[in-house]
């Protein structure tokens, strides 16, 4: 009976951890996608200060999530996403809306890729 309880508790903890991980990655990717999109939109509308602020907030959010990302996400994915966010900020600082748009899409692509790997689907399982 003790072994059965141990196994069920352990599986329960793992399932809970998986759900928490999924929630974290969904929240983080949603926030970052929204912020980067906001940054590009502000740049297109001529509000450079707001664009820089949103890009900065996105970078800060990504940095602050290090405790989570470095434990749960492959480091190559972390680096690719960080690169895209830095490139976005550089494009925003230079005022190049087209480059910023491209970098925003690249960051969103990496974030969605990380998210898709964590979400339960036929594609991610197989």
């Amino acid at each position: 009976m003790r072994r059965l309880i141990t196994a069920l508790v352990l599986l329960g903890i793992l399932a809970g951890l998986s759900l928490w991980d999924l929630h974290q990655v969904q929240t983080l990717s949603d926030q970052l996608c929204a912020l980067t999109a906001l940054s590009v939109r502000a740049l297109r509308e001529g509000d450079r200060a707001a664009a820089i602020s949103s890009a900065d907030t996105a970078l800060r959010l990504w940095d602050e999530a290090e405790g989570y990302t470095h434990i749960f996400i492959r480091h190559s994915e972390i680096d690719s996403t960080a690169d895209a966010l830095f490139e976005l900020k550089a494009a925003v600082l230079s005022g190049d809306a087209e480059s910023a748009q491209a970098m925003q899409e690249m960051a969103a692509y990496h974030l969605m890729s990380i998210r898709t790997m964590e979400e339960l689907s036929l594609g991610s399982v197989f």
């Binding site: 141990t6 196994a7 069920l8 599986l11 998986s18 996400i73 492959r74 480091h75």
Partner: protein, 225 residues
């Protein structure tokens, strides 16, 4: 570098803990599910140790999940004979009533050569002496000899034999094992008297000293360097 070191220590301790919890059977004869778990765990644990870009949790979570599944399977197997047969198979009667069962041999993918090899491992060199031979679910062969080929027991010979129990190690490579000494109800004074009686001045001169339940002492001195 230090990360690799820490990861190795964590993976090692985790594996030790899980294998300890799974039981000693894991170390010797493996059932099918245990073999599967062992192979998977060894592989899963190795990957993040070789690549620090992969989070260690990618190994720890599958290992914990495999451990839990193996526990569940073993509990379920204990409860259901049917499930046990389904998961771990049933023993094969390779030799039954002195006859080799060729159908069973084929079902277990065993050739006569391999059967002979397994019999020789059991110190049986003549298949004609075998009454039953079972290939157990963990892959080991259990052999029961025909009555006329079995060693005579003391009871069959009408002898009265006193059990001497198993031998307890008291000195191992010069080191006195105090717990074992207490377990057999003796003390160091008795031990030193025994050493002197066997011509040893000190425990450090002894390679091994054992005492069985009948109080018989076996002693071997260290070889001179």
């Amino acid at each position: 570098m230090i990360i690799l070191l820490f990861r190795t220590v964590i993976a090692f301790v985790t594996l030790l803990l899980f294998f300890r919890l799974l039981g000693k059977r894991q170390l010797g004869e493996l059932e099918l599910s245990e073999l599967t778990v062992s192979m998977l765990i060894a592989d899963i644990a190795a990957i993040p140790l070789q690549d620090i870009g992969i989070p260690l949790i990618n190994a720890l979570v599958p290992i914990a999940a495999l451990f839990a599944l193996e526990l569940l399977l073993s509990v379920a197997g204990e409860k259901s004979v049917r499930l046990r047969g389904l998961l771990w198979g049933k023993p094969c009667f390779l030799v039954e009533k002195g006859q080799i069962n060729q159908q069973e041999m084929a079902r277990c993918h065993l050739t006569p050569d391999e059967l002979m090899l397994e019999l020789r491992r059991q110190s049986v060199d003549d298949p004609a002496t075998v009454e039953y031979a079972l290939l157990e679910t963990d892959g080991t062969l259990s052999v029961l000899l025909k009555p006329e080929s079995r060693p005579a027991t003391a009871a069959q010979l009408g002898l009265s034999v006193q059990s001497v129990g198993y031998a307890t190690i008291i000195i191992e490579q010069g080191r006195i094992l105090g717990d074992n000494l207490r377990k057999i109800g003796r003390n160091r004074r008795w031990l030193y008297a025994e050493l002197r009686r066997h011509g040893f001045g000190d425990a450090r001169e002894v390679y091994i000293l054992t005492v069985n339940a009948a109080g018989q002492v076996y002693i071997a001195g260290k070889e001179k360097e």
